[in-house]
Every structure is written in C-alpha cells, then in structure tokens.
Amino acid sequence: MNETRLPVADIATVGRHSAALLRANARPLTIVVVLHTLAAVAGLAGPLLLGGLVDAVAQGTTRERVDTVVLVFVLAVLAQTVLIRFAQRNAMVFGETVFADLREDFLATVTELPLSTVERSGTGDLVGRTTNDVDRIQHSVRFGVPRILVSTVTIVLTVAAAFVTAPLVAFAMLVGVPIFLVIGRWYLKRAAPAYQRESAAYATLNGTITESVEGTRTVDALSLGARRRERVRADLSEAFAAERRTLNLRTVLIPGMDSAFVIAPIAVLLWGAFLISNGSVTIGAVTTVVLYAMQLIGPVWELIFWLDEAQVAATSLARIIGVGLVARDREAGDRSPDDEHVVASEVRYAYRPGHDVLHGIDLDLVVGERLAVVGPSGAGKSTLGRMLAGIHPPTGGSVKVGGVPLVELPLEDLRRHVALVTQEHHVFVGTIAENLRLADVTADDAALLDALEAVDARGWVEDLPDGLLTEVGSGGHVLSPAQAQQVALARLVLLDPHTLVLDEATSLLDPRAARHLERSLNAVLTGRTVVAIAHRLHTAHDADRVAVVDGGRIAEIGSHDELVAAEGDYARLWHSWQQA
C-alpha cells in the first residue's frame, strides 16, 4: 500500500491557531476574566479584615466595630459567591463553545480533504485524530484555558494585595519564588514527554484489550490466549514504567513546591517581627500578609497542573490542526464535458517521484462498453482505476471526459460522470434510508426501494422489522458483508453516473453471490460504461473487452475470444481456470 502520513502542525502554527481561536472568542473570554478578577478581589477580604481585627483588639475596640467588620466579611463572601457562580458558569460555557467550534471545524476540514489524500492516507490515522486527539484536548480546552487565566489573575492579585497592605512585609513572601521558578521550570520541561508516554501507554493497553475483545474468536481458535495475556502484561509494564517516571518527577515537584509554601509564612513572620520591633508595621498587617502567603497554595498548584495539561494537549492540537494543512490537489475549471466519452492518454503516475507505477497508458473507453481489467497483484490495476475515476491527478498525461480533464470538474459534477466503487464497504450509523440518500438527498422512499430492487436487496430490506428505517451501522442491526455491498451498489444506482469503475467491488463476496450480484448490476447498468477491475475470470468473460495490465502497462487488450485466440497470458490463465 502507499500509505502517506498526514501532516502535523509545528509549534508556531499551533500558537497562531490558538491565538486566533482566543481572539475569535475575545468577548466571552474578557467577561470570564473580569468576573473572576472581581471574585478574587472579594476573596482577598478575609485576611485583610482579620488583620484589622487583630490590631483593633490589641488597641481595645467595641462590639459594634466587630459586628461591622464581620458584616463586611459576610458581604464579601456573598459577593464572591455570586461572582463565582456567574464566572464559573461563563467559563465553562466558554470552554464548551470553543471546544464545540474546534471539533466541528475539524470534522468539516476532514470531510473536505482532497480525494487523493483520503485514498492514500488510509483512515486509521484520521480516526485516531478524530477520537483520541479530540478527546485529549477536550479537558484542556473546556476547563484549562479559563483556569489558567483565573489562577494567574488570582496569584497576581493576592501578591498585589499583600504589597498594598504592607509593602515592606510583603517582600518576605517572595522568598519562595526562586524555588518555584527553579523547580517549576525543571518539572515542566520534563513533564510533557513523560505524560505523553503515559497516555500513549494507556492507549496501547486499551488497544490491546480492544483487539482481544474484537478478535476473541480468533484468539480462541488459534489458542492465542497466553500471547494476549503476555501482551496485556507487557502493556501494563510499560504503563507502570511511565507512571513511575511521572511519579518520580512529582516526587521532586511536590516537596519542592511545598517547602516554598512552608518557608514563605515563616519568612514573613520573622521579617515582620523585625519590622514590628522597628515600629514600621503593625501585627495586624503581618497577620494579613502571612495569611495571603498561605492562600497562594491553591492557585499556584492549579496553575502548574494546567500548564502541564496544556503542554500535553498542544501535541494533540498539532495533529488536529495538521489536517487543515493538506494542500488542495486540484482546481475546478468552468468547462463542461461535451459528451460521456472517457479517454485516457499517455497516463503516468508515481506515488514517489521517479517511481512510475503507470508507464503511459492509453485507453479509449467506448461509451456503454464493459471493460474488464485483469492482471497480477501490484500491476497497477487499482491505480489505473483511480485515474479513470478522477481520484488522483495523473503525474503525466490526462484522463478526459467529453474533452475536459476529470480533475478540472467540480467534485459534485465529477461524481455524476464517473464513480469509483471499491471493495471497502462501510455501513454508516443511521437508517438504511439515510445510508442510501447520501447519493441523492432528494430521493423518495419509492426511489430508494427501486434502487434496492435493482440490486436484489429489496426483499431482505423489507423483511427487516423497520424496513428502510432500520438502524444499521455500529451499534445497530448488523448487515452481512453481502448486504452491505448491496447497499453500496444501491447507492450507485441512485447516484446514476454514466461511467463506473468497479475496483474489486465484488471480491469480498463468496463466488456465487458475487456472480449473482453482478448479474443484477448488469441489468441496471446497461447503457453505462463500466470498467471492472476483476479477480474472477467470469467477470472478464462477460465483458466486451478485456485489458490485461502488467507492470504498469496494458499488455493485451481485446475481446475475450480474441485474447483466448491470441494465446497470451490471458489465454493461459483462462485455460487453467477452465480445466474444471
């Protein structure tokens, strides 16, 4: 296979995208920050009032004064309560909105990926980005962005309040800052890769369990149980090693940060005592600053936690944004085809420059003919099929319909002219009707049933409990591979292109069913041009012409009888198959 990896955005691009995302949501974000700032200010009242009380009591005061101070404190608590209520709600709604926008944009980008990218990259990587990566950033986007802002604001305000209360004393609370900076930097530098390893280890473990569960039958049949248990054990060992690594990092971080928080109030106390003996500050002021120093613990830990998370999320975000960096593979022109005549001339194609898979293929499809393409695996049959269906722009030469290159047609038009049907079938989550209407949103139930009739599928669909409205796909009614293939073919009937490229479309069915299905398809497709890339020789026998592709070239082309008479490769194969 010619797998290519999808791009991953670099740090600068991730930064640009994140900034743009925040700018686009500047208003709600500002509201969140303002509300939280006010809430944080209200939260600073406690230590300040207590410090005042301590001084007042020392100097002798009255019940009225106490009542007033406590009343002010209660008011501050009430104000903080109301502010927190709205601030938190706004912050979470903001997070939900931004995340919803992000994932919706991502999926829209994915569904608009160029045809050639989709065909070549496979869907595994994309599924991973749609599920795992989107999942991984959700925590950071939904809660992290607001929390980082809020904890930063709270830290700044608390320190500022301490300085306003008693600038001389407040200096002492900064004694822990060097420890924070050293330990914090040390930790954050190492944390992201360590946590990534951890989440990768768990993803592997989940993958192993998923495989074991999905493949229970094979596990049983081939006695793979011991191997599977060994695999789980190995995954757990790796997860454990990763956990131990992050645990060791935290074993430095936690006591480091904690000791900064232990030292700060003691330093304030000692320095404050010195200043008190100087007479430059009051006991109450020192009390207030000590309490502020203790209050910083919460927001500082929160900030560290979210910075950590944000780093991990950034790598997933890079993969999500990366999908948007795929370049377009074609520009639609405005010419429309004169007729339904498909002609390939001098078509070359290379997945990697210099390694041509097709070496200048000329093929003139007769309108309405059935052409079978046969040949050994790896001969370039499928690549040729994709060229004829306009999936890839050829590296050299052209494929034109009615005089217009296929790759210059807008996609919606292209599909009305040529369609590619592969052996891959996928039943989408939804009803059978929804699965069919992909091809034609306007089709009514009668049209759907007619299409099913054409592929011999009407009977079993009508026998289903809910008929066309039966839920199928992951979690719904399970269709057999043959039924799934029939649904796919019925979609084609609805799409109604004049030329069809069938790439081994019937190979997954058992031989008799394939033949059966091809017959019903034949009846429907009369008058259409059909290119059938075939495994089975009866397909070739039924065709008007047969092209034998070998080594990226058309080795033989002609009717079945002509080729048999020519006694080339095709004839030999036919005879061995015919021995029966």
Partner: protein, 598 residues
Amino acid sequence: MLGNVRSLPLPDPGRPPLTSPAAYLAWQARRQRGVLAAAVTCGILTFLAQALMPYVLGHALDEGLEKGLGPELLRWAGIMLAAGVVQVVASAFGHRFDVQNWLRAAFGTSQLVGDKVSRSGDRVTEDIPTGEVVATVATDAMRVGEFFFNAARLIGSLVAYAAVAVLMLRTSVTLGLVVVVGLPAVAAILGLLVRPLHRRQSAQREASGRLTTLGADTVSGLRILRGIGGEGVFTDRYRRQSQAVREAGVRVATTQSYLDALQVLLPGLFVALVLWLGAVRAVDGSITPGQLVTFYGYAAFLTWPMQNLTQTLQITTRAVVSVRKIIRVLQVVPATGATPGTADAPAPGAALVDEASGLTLPGDRVVALVSAHPDDSARVATRLGRFDDVADRETPVRLGGVLVHDIDKDELRHRVVVAEATPHLFSGVLRGELDVRDRATDEEILAALHVADAQDVLDSTPGGLDGDLPEKGRSLSGGQRQRVALARALLTEAEHLVLVEPTSAVDAHTEARIAERLTAARRGRSTLVVTASPLVLDHVDEVVVLRDDQVVLHGTHRELLAGTGEDHDHYRAVVGRTLTEDPVPAGPTHDHTEEVTR
C-alpha cells in the same frame, strides 16, 4: 525501602470474590493492605501537620511577634518549620503511596479483565458490547484505582477534623460545637448537589460518546463519502450532535457553578461565624488575638477536609458503579473449556470425525469440503474446532474416538486448528503475528508466506518480518490480509488444519498458485479446505460433498466430475462456474456437464 515502588503488574492477579462490589473492594484492600496502611499513615501526618499551623501561628502572634525578633518568636518559628518539614516529607511519601495504591488496584483489575477476555472465547461479546468490555479497562479500572488513591486523603481529613474539633472544644465549647456540628452539615448540603451534577455529567458523557462514534463513523467511511457525496449530510449530523453535547455541557455548567458558588458561600459563612464568635470573645478578653487568628485558621483549614468528604462521596459512588461492570465481565463463563478435560487425548495421527454429517478426516489427507450453501460447509468445519460446548452438544465430534468435548482444551487447540473465513489480524511485529506458536525459523516463516503467496506483505510492511503490523492489519489490502492469515494458520503446523474459504478474496492467478503450493505443503498431513473453487478442488487428495448437512459423495475432483447420478450432477452444478446465465439453482439441479467440460 520506604516509598520504593513495587514493580507491576504482579505475577498473579488473584481471584476476587464476585459476589458484591463491597466484597471486591474489600478483597482488593486486603491485597494491598501494606501500601494502604503506609499511605494512610502519611495522610494522617500530612493533615495533622497542616492542622497544627494555625495553632502555631496564633501562639507566635501572641507570644512572639509583639516582642519583636526574640527567642519566643524563634521558638515558634522553629516549631512551624518542624511541622512544615513533617508535612513536606509526609505528603511527598504519601503521594508515592497513594499512586501505588491507585496502580495496584487499577492494574490488578485490568489484568483480571485481560485474562478473562483471553480465555472466554466469543461468549464475552455475546453478553456485553465490545465497547463496554474495553471501558472496564479504560475507565472502570481507573475508577477503582481512584477509590484507593483517595483513601489516605479521606482518613487523614477525618483525623485532622477530629483533632481540630478537640482543640477548639478545649478553648471554647461554643466554637468547638460550631465546628463539630457545622461542618458535617455543610458537607451534607453540598453532597445533595452531587447527585444532580452526576446525572447531568453522565448525560453529557453519553452524548459525547455518541459524538465520538459519529466522528469515527464519518471518518471510517470517508472514502465512500468522498466518492459518492454526502459530506454535507455528515458534517451537519456531527454538528447537531456536537451542539447537543455543548448544550448538555451548559447544563452541567449550571449545576456545577451552583456547587462551586456554594463551596464559597457555606465555608465562607462558617468562617464568618467562627470569626464573629472569636472576635466577640477577643474583645471581652476571654481569648487572645492570636487565638482569634488560630480559629480563623482552623475554620479556613477545615474547608479542605470538608471538600474531601464531598469528593469521597462522588469517588465512592463512581467506584461502586464501575466494580459492578467489572464483575459482570469477570462473571462470563467461557464458551468452551469451562471445566477441565476428563479424557486422555488419543495418540497423534488419530482421525477426526463429525458424526452428524459423516465427515471423516483420516489424519493424512488433504480434503476439500464442498456444499451448495457455503454456510453449511463452514458450520460443519467450525464444529470440528469445538467453539461452543453448549451449542455442539447435539453434534458430537470425535478425535480418535474420544469426544473432543472431553479432551483438555489446550491440547485440542494445538492439535486441531480451525482458521475461519474472517480471521482477525492482531497488531505487533510481523514475525510474531505469523508465528503464533513461537517455534518457526525465519526460513519456515518465509516458506509459509510463499505457500500463501504473501511475500508481497514483506514489501508493504516497512522492516519486513521485523516490521510492525498495525491493528487489524489495516496497512494491508483485503487479499493480503487473507493470505497473511493463511500463512499464520499454516505455521501452527496443526495435526488437523481446517481452512474455511482461505482464498475467497484473492485473484485467480494467486488462487491457482496458493492451491498448488498449499496442497504440496500439507501433503500427508490432515487438512480440510472449505471451498467451491475448482482451482483448489483440482489439487486436493479428496473432495467431500455435503448436501443437506450430510456427506453424499467423496472422491477426487475429476472422479466426481466424471461420475453419473444425481449427486454428481449436483456437484457439477456447484463447482462448475458455468457459462450459463442462470445462477446456481438451489432446488432441482440441471445438467451442466456439457458446458463445463467443453
């Protein structure tokens, strides 16, 4: 050493009681009681040291601060530092023990589930959806871990709470009672909000799970969407569900924001009450300003154990729900081999006989099984492998005269291997995924790949035999996957090898090559191939024809083609991919001999 982490996973995950979630959790707690005790000790020390801080601060204010930087203050500062050091050390080690508690419980559970699914056969997915089984490892095991992680914090909180209550009661009965009664009341009120919050959170999780399914579904079918159209329909569908998730999130946010606000309001009012009571006493001189600060400090500190209590409630609820799901998976009874074998296995070379159909594999021949209905022949072939003891009770299969049901399952699986039509490929290094018995040399592996005509897989897997095969062999084409699975089955070197439709997805050139090499490679060893392809039938020693679940004919392909009689006609109709326009009739057969042999 203290705080040293014992390597996981443990050699034996043990056998937990499956009677109730409580029994399961208690069993797990006993298994890790040492770590649990260490964590709880550290937790208590951490919280006590912290609870001591306001006390020390109050004394420092009263006895030291006024006199300036004197010996009194230094003494209290020293005590504060000592308490701080205890707290730092205890919480650092405590965290290590907490994490060990988490890992022991979570990994133990994951291992139990992993073991179960490796032994249960497909019974596990009959009873429980795949996603839920996977979730027991991905989510539920973590929740059990979280329960044990939280244990030290909970008990530390409770002890500190009791200590503070005693200290306050000693200073002032009123203040003490406010703490003793007030805080549990606050915790209970907050607890009330937990349930609706949970409900809304799980509603959002469910909506979000559906969204992930829709996303994965759209992307998995992307080739089709891009080829046929309908991207718009799918992005709209995703957008709608995404907005539903967002709205569910907004509902969570509403409840959560009330909870957050209450977590400010209730402790705030509690602190205000303590502050007022204390200040009044300070004014009339019954307590010192330092004690006032101490009370304030206690009140502020106590909000922490209170939050832990509320959280414990959530964590425990979640853990119990998760354990129920885990128990459900662990209770699954395997489809075969639930009880140990009772009979001695027969000597090598014994014949394998399906009594219901009359199919006999003598032990040294390559046989093909043909039926007009591929499902029928596949069913008979599958039966030979013993996949369901309950369902197969009516259709006995004997190896050397012994019922396969009575033979030790591992022994049977090594001697009789059934490779089904839709085998699963697993991720891993290609060599290991091919040679699942770990006994072949590279030459033997390459030879098996040659027989299966799958050498091209070495090119499409970077690194060849040392390269990685992705999950489900996704990097391979359908035909390649089938050929890899065939090579894998061949490498088991089973005494009886049963292959169901092994070449259905390969082209005619390839099928012809495989048929020739396969029969040569297995010559003299019992092999059954379920197929109707003449390219294969022409090479086997014997063809067996199944009709209405009974063996009606056997002989070489040519003999059967040449024979006369209704069953021979039937055979010709089934295998002759005739050139007529009629599909193979299911009822009365027509004579196609002429067309087939012309």
